[in-house]
């Protein structure tokens, strides 16, 4: 079965425990295998010197062209601050119904002793952005992973799981996507 790939594309060295926590959580939430991808390549031309941030939309473009073979979805995790042109920042971005998503820890900072909270937030936002790649839109249930993330309060209210309605939509979508991915599954799982 084709897996979800979690790929660290940050500026600093990867926090393996953090990434493995994300991998395990998305695997649980999506009931799909998930694995860490250790690609050394990093997105180019995403830095906007005027804003001092990276364009999340450009990162998605780059990811779409660098999706590891056999990956059902690729979730890039970074520590750089992300933006889209009209907004001051975004926690992450994803292709609606596509294959690529990106989340950042830059705005999830929870103070010197907040490592655990950062991990919880990152897991929730990872499940959220991946949900968009499965065609899910924002949900009005505040505790659902697909609820909007417009500030940290809304992020903290959520859980890394779906409400009943979103879960149903996800399962329907998964059933529709199923065949497409079976063919390419594990074609080259160890590509670096």
């Amino acid at each position: 079965m084709a897996a979800i790939y979690v790929w660290w594309i940050g500026a600093d060295a990867p926090d393996h425990a953090l990434l493995d926590g994300v991998r395990a959580a998305v695997s649980r939430s999506y009931e799909l295998p998930a694995r860490l991808w250790h690609g050394e390549e990093r997105p180019a031309d995403t830095w906007d010197p005027r804003r001092g941030q990276h364009s999340s939309t450009q990162i998605l473009h780059w990811l779409a062209g660098h999706r590891p073979a056999g990956a059902r979805k690729v979730l890039a995790v970074t520590d750089v601050d992300l933006f889209i042109p009209v907004l001051t920042f975004v926690y992450g971005e994803a292709q609606l119904g596509g294959h690529a998503a990106v989340v950042s820890t830059a705005r999830l900072w929870a103070g010197p002793d907040g490592r655990r909270l950062v991990r919880t937030r990152l897991v929730t936002e990872s499940v959220h952005e991946l949900g968009h790649t499965f065609g899910l839109v924002h949900c009005r249930t505040p505790r659902c992973a697909m609820a909007r993330s417009i500030n940290l309060a809304t992020v903290d209210e959520k859980r890394p799981t779906f409400c009943a309605e979103c879960r149903l939509h996800y399962l329907e979508r998964l059933a529709r996507e199923g065949d497409d991915h079976e063919q390419g599954a594990d074609a080259d799982p160890d590509r670096r």
């Binding site: 804003r51 364009s55 999340s56 939309t57 450009q58 933006f83 889209i84 042109p85 009209v86 907004l87 001051t88 920042f89 975004v90 971005e93 994803a94 292709q95 609606l96 968009h132 839109v137 924002h138 909007r148 993330s149 417009i150 500030n151």
Partner: protein, 453 residues
């Protein structure tokens, strides 16, 4: 709030802005599209309905203010938000003067953006709801909502329209369900009193003492349970209209009390002594023959003449069958607004049934039958079984000895016409009569609408 119904158009010359903002809003469940310049945006506004336009201020050729100005002319209800990276007071003022919903300086906080869109969508939903409620509230109550091709009904409307301008008492006569209250409301709405209240009282629904208290009010302690002073309908209808339905059913005591109000324009509350003066227009209605009731001594002659200043007789629906298709269209439109369903037409067979039904309950019965049909119809067209009249018709046919020959003939012709899809030649062949005879019978039984429906 219906996110799917909210259509957002992004107008920006930068592709990355269009792409990222579209993606962001689509994830909120909105339908989003984009245009890369002013002229193509205006073309989209001309072609489709938009709820919100997010327009960049600085674009080559046609700028955001020009797009705003033209878009508001084409779709005044669309909320246009101007986005700019270079805010100036002058452009902000100009944008607001041209009707912009907001003027935002890029980049904005995700929370600010999200709240603004939610607010616009909420406001637009309220406006839509308001329009819908006004439509529902106003249903039936204007003369333009009273439809008829029948000469008798047209004369009724003409008389009612003239009478509306005066303050004279009106007596509306007609069978149950012919629309007496609807006409009374229309008269009120079209009268100089339209800003005042319209109150309807069903005189047959209450006992004598309750009706007396309902009409004239009571003082505290007037009777057991009268714990406080209560205004009656006459007082509450001051400067408006009171509609007294089933006036033929009131007792002699109340007939006298009502006569006094009509003569003196004042009354006393039950248990009171102080007279209360009121300026109320009275529209009374009955399905009884009041003249006969006077002859039999059941109704005061002086009150009859006081009420009978402008008598208006509403004909039963069976005497104006040619109005049925018109009424069906009109009622369907109302029912679709009220029920939120989209039923646009009535099939040939269903219309044939509606045309042949005797309608003892008149327009009210027709409305009820259509309401049921709108609810049960599976498509956009009402089919004969949806009406629930087939079973009733079968029941009537079983009680054949109670039906006149003409009724049987009418029903049979309508049935054959419906079966032959309105084809006269084919129907005449089935009925074994010539086409001229069939035409004459169609005319006699007002079946023409079946043919053209």
């Amino acid at each position: 709030m219906n996110r799917e119904r909210t259509r957002i158009l992004i107008v920006d010359d930068e592709e990355i802005v269009r792409e990222s903002l579209s993606g962001w809003l689509e994830k909120d469940g909105y339908t989003v599209s984009s245009a890369q310049d002013g002229p193509s945006a205006i073309a989209r506004v001309n072609a489709e309905r938009w709820s919100i336009l997010l327009v960049d201020m600085k674009m080559p050729g046609m700028d955001g203010l020009q797009v705003l100005e033209q878009a508001k002319k084409i779709q005044p209800d669309a909320a246009v938000v101007i986005m700019t990276a270079y805010a100036t007071v002058d452009t902000a003022v100009a944008a607001m003067k041209l009707g912009a919903y907001d003027y935002l300086v890029k980049p904005f906080d995700p929370e600010e953006m999200s709240l603004m869109i939610t607010k616009i969508v909420g406001q637009q939903a309220l406006v839509r709801e308001n329009v819908l409620l006004r439509k529902v509230l106003k249903r039936d109550y204007r003369f333009r909502d009273l439809v008829s091709k029948n000469p008798k009904m047209r004369a009724v409307f003409e008389l009612a329209r003239t009478a509306a301008r005066s303050s004279s008492t009106i007596l509306v006569l007609g069978e149950s369900g012919t629309g007496k209250e609807v006409l009374a409301r229309a008269i009120h709405v079209e009268s100089p009193r339209s800003q005042g209240p319209f109150l309807a009282v069903s005189c047959a629904a209450l006992t004598e003492s309750l009706l007396e208290s309902e009409l004239f009010g009571h003082e505290r302690g007037a009777f057991t349970g009268a714990v406080a002073r209560q205004r009656g309908k006459f007082e509450a209808a001051h400067r408006g209209t009171i509609f007294l339905d089933e006036i033929g059913d009131i007792t002699p005591k109340l007939q006298l009390a009502l006569l006094r109000v009509l003569e003196e324009r004042r009354f006393t509350r039950v248990g009171g002594v102080e007279p209360v003066e009121v300026d109320v227009r009275v529209i009374a209605a009955t399905n009884r023959d009041l003249g006969k009731a006077v002859e039999q001594g059941h109704f005061r002659e002086d009150l009859y003449y006081r009420l009978n200043v402008i008598p208006i007789q509403l004909p039963p629906l069976r005497d104006r069958r040619e109005d049925i298709p018109l009424l069906v269209d009109h009622l369907l439109e109302q029912l679709c607004v009220e029920t939120g369903r989209k039923v646009e037409s009535v099939s040939h067979d269903a219309m044939a049934l509606l045309m042949e039904h005797p309608w003892p309950g008149n327009v009210r019965e027709l409305r009820n039958v259509l309401e049921r049909a709108v609810v049960v119809a599976s498509g956009s067209s009402i089919q004969a079984p949806d009406l629930g009249l087939l079973e009733a018709a079968r029941g009537e046919a079983a009680a054949g000895d109670m039906t006149t020959l003409e009724q049987v003939e009418r029903r049979h012709i309508a049935h054959v016409l419906a079966k032959s899809g309105g084809n006269i030649t084919q129907a005449a062949r089935v009925l074994d009569i010539d086409r001229v005879t069939l035409y004459n019978k169609i005319k006699k039984y007002h079946l023409r609408e079946v043919e053209s429906a």
